[in-house]
Symmetry: C2
Subunit: 339 residues, 2 copies
């Protein structure tokens, strides 16, 4: 066939270098008629303070503990932790097909703000800086011993989060989980071959192509990757987070739901290793949608065979390069994250 | 710590030998109070024939084609295929970070029965045999050239399937998708080291342990793996499918929703290779639930770090070994599939 591949027209496989895996993109399917509209769900009225909300200042939680009257961030141990510090070791005398391993850890909850009716994009830049600084502090504290500290925020009922109070979770574990283990392997292999971190070369390549400087083209929520290309300062990061999340809220005319989390170099025993291949980054995943309003089910082909999307990243958004006032260069891309 | 690990009490990591990855099992979390009840959703009345349903015999589909008045199975090309036979090749001159590959294929829909108001467990054994024989025929036909033929069934609205008519899909692709590629690698490595297929040794080990002979212990839907341990005959398979799915329907008092699909050795160019390491099997995935009624969201920690479950497979179901009347030995396990 001598036809040229046009990504928005023809199905193809797209490589994800951070996962060393492929996604089937069937872009031609979008020629099916679809609304292109985002329904505006009825805005729920969230009270600033709810006496029954276990995350509000001064309230009593399930285990009987009383929250302090905090006025900035507030961190406490999760009352129903998936990871506890003291689980026993199953031992090593196991058949290779029936292996289990010890899993120990700590789960914390971190409130961003004393008020339930704000979200990160609605907070002041100074308040977001305090969240970022607290993230850094927690990673430093738990990362002193645990090899992986996962910070993640599930926002909105569509992401399974029923509590409207602005907060995230921190799970530190005695093991390197699957996703960062794959990411570590991919970044290390790339670095060893090319002498520069994968994500730094990625940003340079995108900048060279000069095709990507519009943030959002059409109203379709897209996953993206945010990374701090040169040097991280919390003020610049606060500014870009506020800008980006405000843009999403305004574009979709809702408090935009997402799951996000940070991926940095492993910690604990890995602190002694050379981690030059790692580039700190955050993943932002909006709800996975079939059309702009219908949730996509990850079933059938996706579970049994391969990830599949009906849009190319280029069809729905382009990328933005920012340089903040302190000289930090941030890079935002959706090409790796896919939809 | 000298405490013994009790899987239903203590968190641990569980190995999945078919995926070479680990799942975090936080079984202690189930001590949280939960209803343990399965809500019985109102039974929708499904008409045997619906003039607007594009899958019914004699009806006209979106592309104007008219279905024949079929009285058994009926196969046709998907009107909105994710894979088409003629997509162009993006070529090989690509930066390693921005790779794409050609993806070609065929998507078919297969109706199991002319009636919309039946499901596999409600069909007669002779009718299920016809479905199985048609599956085999399609895999042989498409597998003559395509390296992978994925048969999968999404059943029920909870699995994103809006059409009640009993049917499955078949997607044949010019590439080996991620999931079977990993499974192929794991089974091959195991076979090379141990001289017998992974799943055969798995079944033997489970049989030796003699701990698993009750099908369902408590009412919690669980993923399982069904495989044909010795020799496959469609009559024996039809019997076990009917038995198993009827049991699920009765236990949960609903037409039980699931996604299922077959994994067998790769086809097309791989037909010439030695595939002794492969053991044909089917995966059955029920909806992923947080409690028996609340859907679990795959967000946050799962997307960013690792799969996590609140139950061990042993807590919710045990396994069944069947030997059918033709001497075929089937093996059913939930330990690999996890929840
Ligand atoms: Zn990452
Ligand atoms: Zn499989």
């Amino acid at each position: 066939l001598s036809v040229l591949l046009l990504p928005p027209e023809h199905q193809h496989l797209r490589y994800n270098p951070l996962k060393d895996s492929w996604v089937l993109v069937s872009a031609h399917r979008m020629k099916r008629p679809w609304a292109g509209q985002v329904e505006k769900p009825p805005e729920e009225l969230i009270p600033r303070y709810d006496p029954r909300n276990p995350l509000c200042p001064g309230n009593t939680r399930a285990n009987g503990e009383v929250n302090p009257s905090y006025d900035s961030t507030f961190v406490f141990e999760n009352d129903f932790p998936a990871l506890q510090p003291d689980a026993p070791d199953p031992g090593s005398d196991q058949h290779p097909l029936f292996q289990s391993k010890a899993a120990r850890g700590v789960c914390k909850v971190m409130c961003f703000h004393p008020w339930s009716d704000v979200t990160l994009p609605l907070m002041k830049k100074e308040e977001i800086i305090k969240v970022i600084d607290k993230w850094a502090e927690i990673v430093e504290e738990l990362g002193a011993t645990y090899p992986w500290v996962q910070i993640f925020e599930n926002k909105g009922a569509m992401m399974g989060c029923s509590n409207p109070h602005p907060h995230c979770q921190v799970w530190a574990s005695s093991f390197l989980p699957n996703e960062p283990a794959v990411s570590d392997r991919c970044q290390r292999a790339y670095y060893q071959k090319n002498g520069e971190p994968l994500l730094v070369q990625y940003a340079k390549q995108e900048a060279e192509k000069k095709v990507h400087y519009v943030l959002i083209k059409i109203k379709f929520p897209i996953a993206f990757l945010l990374f701090l290309y040169l040097y991280c300062c919390s003020s610049g990061l606060a500014a870009i987070m506020k800008q980006l999340l405000t843009k999403y809220d305004n574009l979709f005319e809702v408090s935009f739901p997402y799951s996000m989390g940070w991926h940095g170099a492993p910690t604990g025993p890995h602190l002694k290793e050379d981690n030059s291949h790692w580039q700190l980054h955050a993943h932002y995943y909006p709800p996975l949608l079939r059309s702009a309003t219908v949730k996509k089910f990850m079933v059938g082909y996706e579970m049994l065979a391969q990830e599949q999307r009906d849009l190319t990243p280029e069809q729905v958004t382009h990328f933005a390069l920012y340089t903040d006032q302190c000289g930090t260069r941030f890079w935002l891309t959706s090409a790796i994250a896919h939809l």
